[in-house]
Symmetry: C2
Subunit: 247 residues, 2 copies
């Protein structure tokens, strides 16, 4: 063990404000780049929930070795985007109803807490407003895909009010997981549209510095969205039951 504990120095940088560019300097390993590609593909529905990701095929397609690919799989499995079954391979995860309920349980806790703390106008107002307007524009032009992503961004900005790196990361993961849910839903397009006016209401309360008010609206918002998704799952189950009974 080379390093000792005394390496713990609270670094006050000699060139403040430059550390932000560190991300631009640091190259990324192949594993991370592969994971990024797969993450994007999963998000956009190229790999559908339940589908298997063959080491051989994807390795060939991306031009990376099996070992490197497996490391990327581990990353995404850890993010709950993939499910790893021993000796069977990795599959795009199929969130269960319980998952949906749990995801919203966490979202209620996190996002509501972030919004509740709002009192004065923080600097990130513009960012939230921006996301709402992007959503409006997408709805006006009928671009349902963009509407969905704008909505996701909106909620990520809300969570960002907490000012916590870990909260941001967590919410990012949760929404990525939710995208899987949307992909297994029959009609995802209209899902986000009905929540557009409520985005405005929440933004208004935040702009007014009314944290508790915004929280109340957001809580109701999340409860409704959850109920709708759970309902969609129940419909699927009913349909499956009816189909198997009809044989």
């Amino acid at each position: 063990m080379t390093g000792t504990i005394d390496d713990v120095v609270i670094e006050d940088s000699a060139v403040p404000g430059l550390e932000a560019d560190r991300g631009l300097v640091s190259r990324k390993s192949t594993t991370e780049r592969v994971a990024g590609v797969l993450r994007k593909r999963i998000a956009e529905g190229f790999f559908l929930p339940g589908g298997r990701l063959s080491e051989q095929d994807i390795g060939n397609a991306l031009g990376v070795s099996r070992n490197t690919l497996r490391e990327a799989f581990r990353l995404l499995t850890h993010e709950r985007l993939l499910a790893h079954e021993l000796n069977r391979g990795v599959f795009v995860r199929i969130p269960s109803v319980d998952d949906v309920v749990d995801i919203y349980r966490v979202r209620k806790i996190i996002e509501c807490a972030a919004v509740r703390g709002v009192t004065a106008k923080p600097a990130s107002f513009a960012r939230i407003k921006e996301k709402v307007e992007i959503g409006d524009e997408a709805a006006r032009t009928g671009n349902w895909k963009d509407l969905g992503t704008a909505n996701v961004w909106f909620h990520q900005e809300l969570a960002a009010l907490s000012g916590s790196e870990r909260v941001n990361e967590l919410v990012g993961r949760l929404t990525a997981e939710l995208r899987l849910v949307f992909h297994i839903m029959a009609e995802p397009r209209r899902f986000h549209e009905r929540y557009l006016p409520r985005n405005h209401e929440i933004l208004d309360r935040i702009e007014a510095g009314d944290g508790p008010g915004a929280e109340q609206l957001l809580m109701k918002y999340l409860e409704d969205a959850e109920e709708q998704l759970v309902g969609a799952y129940a419909d699927r189950a009913d349909a499956a039951r009816a189909a198997s009974a009809a044989e």
Copy 2:
């Protein structure tokens, strides 16, 4: 892609209640077992923060190949226990002051929300009480190490009141990360002791079904703990500054 979206069936098993044993059947991959070993070693301080984990050495010591070991490293890096530096290797992470602040930010949100929701007596009361008593016993016998872990368990039980799998996992990760912080502190033994009576106070309020009351106490508890840790970091920084100035 073999599986289709229609695989999403809410399975009503032919043998209800047996799926719970699925975890017992599934063996674990070598990667996961290795990750488990490393996780434990890091938690108990065998690998100290800042120390480098050589692929070669640890691979030989554990009798696994470099590839398998690297997969395990990815897992732990994702949990923020290890830090991965390209072409330099993996190191036991050294949490910064910002990390400590952020960890407590999240803990306040999560644990307080979990505790706030308590109204009637849930079934998990006994579990919480148990953890408090384990802490008492450890303090009585002067077993500071056990006191620390008992305290961690206490908070994990508090978080478990939320009834969310994801919250449990998150808090588990945060406390694992906090253990790193404790390892770089000079005198970790006495740290937990002073919070013992406050554990009792919080437990009392929970048993009384007074969620908001418990939340208030818990919030103060977390604020004090955070302040103490941040203070310890500042001391370290001062000491480092003095040392370098004396040369």
